[in-house]
């Protein structure tokens, strides 16, 4: 029972992180119809920026803020410089481009920061709370993780529902041509969308790194988990991404706890295949429509 509870709680925390990462993928997919496979290394390199600041003796929160800010900036720059030229090209070009970006950022991080493992600090305790005699697997940092992701989701909902910018971003995601006719600067909205998504990606990178080891490929498997979570939710729905992330986090945690941590990527692959074969549109799909 104790192990069951521990596994479930760990899974919930991991699931929140996958949800944040999936949310970042969904934001970009909705606005530009591109799955940004370079999201993982983009988040990774901003976490390194935070690490450099923290190692230089500044506070954790300064590094945290710097990582989020550089994520915002990196997302905007990537969209402007790399993605803009292939936006109206065949689909495969954009996918290959993000993979090229994946290789580039990966190598860049290894050249600049070295490819050895470095430990990343956590701002809160890493041992579980005690309730009576039972050690609950909910650490201070995992509470912070859950709250941080919830806060980001709330802010995104507020942004998209209640602000002018959010409305314009939704309009340009819905129909670029009509939005442009109505006076929305669609290209600027796309850049903002990428920036926002990259920032959410950086947040998930920071949350995974907290109390763990960081190296240039530490986010590689997360891009797969985030993608699986996003597909579970249908790739188009932010709520779906969050639910998908939670489902995936808990299931992978059980696989890791009862079978072995080596096979969690395999389990993710199996889940992805089952979902794609049974409900290709995700768990929340309505009427499937495909333009030809």
């Amino acid at each position: 029972m104790q192990q069951f509870l521990t596994t479930a709680l760990t899974g919930l925390t991991q699931g929140m992180i996958y949800a944040a990462f999936a949310l970042a993928l969904v934001l970009i997919w909705r606005s530009t119809r591109i799955v940004n496979f370079a999201q993982a290394p983009m988040a990774m390199i901003t976490v390194y920026i935070a690490l450099v600041i923290i190692d230089a003796g500044y506070s954790y929160w300064l590094g945290f803020a710097a990582a989020l800010l550089s994520g915002l900036l990196l997302g905007a720059v990537v969209e402007r410089v790399a993605i803009r030229p292939v936006e109206d090209k065949p689909h495969i070009n954009a996918v290959i481009l993000t993979l090229g970006l994946f290789i580039v950022i990966h190598a860049l991080a290894a050249v600049i920061f070295g490819s050895n493992y470095r430990s990343f600090p956590a701002p809160f305790g890493l041992s579980g709370f005690r309730v009576g005699d039972v050690n609950v697997a909910l650490t201070g940092f995992s509470v912070f993780t859950i709250l941080a992701v919830l806060a980001v989701m709330l802010l995104l909902v507020l942004l998209f529902r209640f602000t002018n910018v959010g409305l314009m971003m939704r309009a340009s995601a819905f129909n670029q041509e009509v939005a442009r006719l109505l006076g929305v600067r669609v290209t600027r909205m796309l850049t903002q969308g990428w920036a926002l998504a990259a920032m959410v990606g950086s947040l998930s990178g920071l949350l995974i790194a907290g109390g763990n080891l960081v190296h240039p490929s530490y986010m590689d498997s997360v891009v797969v988990f985030g993608f699986v979570a996003a597909v579970l939710g249908g790739l188009d729905s932010p709520i779906g991404a969050v639910v998908g992330g939670l489902i995936l986090g808990v299931s992978l945690s059980f696989v890791s706890g009862y079978i072995g941590s080596e096979v969690i990527a395999l389990a993710a692959l199996v889940i992805l295949m089952v979902v794609l074969l049974l409900r290709p549109g995700g768990l929340f799909s309505h009427a499937p429509a495909r333009r030809v």
Binding site: G100, A110, V224, F227, L276, L277, P280
Partner: protein, 347 residues
């Protein structure tokens, strides 16, 4: 004589066999006149070329993207390592190569059936998951697959008939690394002839039709699923063969050799050379093999440490991949062909 040559050149099979023969002569000339170190590098180029050839057919002709070819190379390499485990009673090498190809083919068929129903980013994501997942299997079955250390591969002795024939023709002794290089290039030439014939045949035309417009292809009576699965299977069989040659050349099958970077490197080789072109795949493989050495030595001269300089090569080919996609999506071969065509039409 020229009429005869022209007749051979006019038939697809004849042209491909002629080119294959010339290729074999060129390979022998190069391998006999280079050092053992270079022979090893040529073996690397051979297995990269085989895998890239399979991938370029899948992506260029059929329009499916696979980020999981590293995983199929791992399957081929582990099959080879397991079959060659017993030095005394190991089966003949040709059977080992065929077995590695067949195992990758069967698993590829399983994945292909699922992947054929996917399109766009879904297939990229699914094969990406495959590339991440497969090294974990080797870790999970530590007993048979050797865990993190992997399996060492025992390369069988050079057979006497091969050594005699090689001595008769070239008057050089055949070292083990040269033998492996010959095996690699022989496999490459055989697989390229098969791929080239396939792409010129009915099957290749069906693949192109599916790539260009799947609805139109289906109306024309093409079974989309079957065409996609077939392309995937052919491509993974090549990756399995490449994995077998890799196991022989590196003498090790370990999870660290099949990380995501391998699959991404293959993809960038194919994009650089030009999607759909076997010559392009070979050029891409050559770049992947010989570029790192050059770039790393430049990096070392510039004062970087060994580890940092080793990362310069992926940096360069990643950047080149991005530039090619943005500026010249047809790749090296495609751009060169387009330029030649332009020159011909406007003399």
């Amino acid at each position: 004589m020229t009429a005869f040559a022209q007749r051979i050149w006019a038939s697809t099979l004849g042209r491909h066999l002629l080119l294959a023969g010339l290729g074999l002569v060129a390979v022998a000339l190069v391998l006999e006149n280079t050092s053992a170190f270079r022979n090893g590098q040529f073996a690397v180029m051979a297995y990269m070329g085989i895998a890239a050839g399979g991938l370029t057919v899948l992506t260029g002709l059929n329009g499916q993207l696979s980020l999981g070819h590293g995983a199929f190379m791992a399957i081929g390499a582990y099959t080879t390592a397991l079959l060659l485990d017993d030095y005394e009673s190991a089966p003949p090498l040709i059977l080992v190569l065929l077995a590695a190809t067949a195992v990758a083919l069967v698993i590829g068929a399983g994945v292909g059936v699922a992947a054929a129903r996917l399109h766009g980013p879904y297939i990229a994501g699914a094969t990406l998951a495959l590339a991440i997942a497969v090294p974990g299997i080797a870790l999970y079955f530590q007993g048979t697959l050797g865990g993190e250390q992997g399996l060492t591969v025992v390369v069988p002795d050079v057979p006497n008939w091969f050594a005699d024939a090689a001595y008769f023709i070239t008057a050089n002794d055949v070292s083990s690394s040269k033998y492996v290089a010959y095996i690699g290039w022989f496999s490459l030439i055989v697989s390229y002839v098969l791929l080239a014939n396939l792409s010129r045949s009915r099957v290749g035309r069906i693949w192109r039709a599916v790539r260009d417009d799947d609805v139109a292809a289906e109306i024309a009576g093409i079974n989309l699923g079957r065409a996609r699965v077939l392309a995937f299977v052919v491509s993974t069989a090549c990756a399995g063969l490449a994995g077998a040659v890799l196991a022989l050349a590196v003498r090790l099958a370990a999870p660290s050799g099949f990380m995501l970077t391998l699959s991404l490197a293959l993809l960038s080789a194919v994009v650089l050379g030009g999607l759909g072109s076997l010559l392009g795949a070979l050029i891409g493989a050559a770049l992947l093999t010989f570029l790192p050495q050059v770039v790393t030595s430049i990096g070392l001269d510039a004062g970087l440490t060994d580890l940092q300089a080793a990362e310069l090569a992926p940096l360069v080919y990643g950047l080149t991949t991005m530039l090619v996609v943005i500026l010249a999506p047809a790749g090296i071969v495609g751009t060169a062909r387009a330029a030649r065509r332009r020159r011909r039409s406007h003399p």
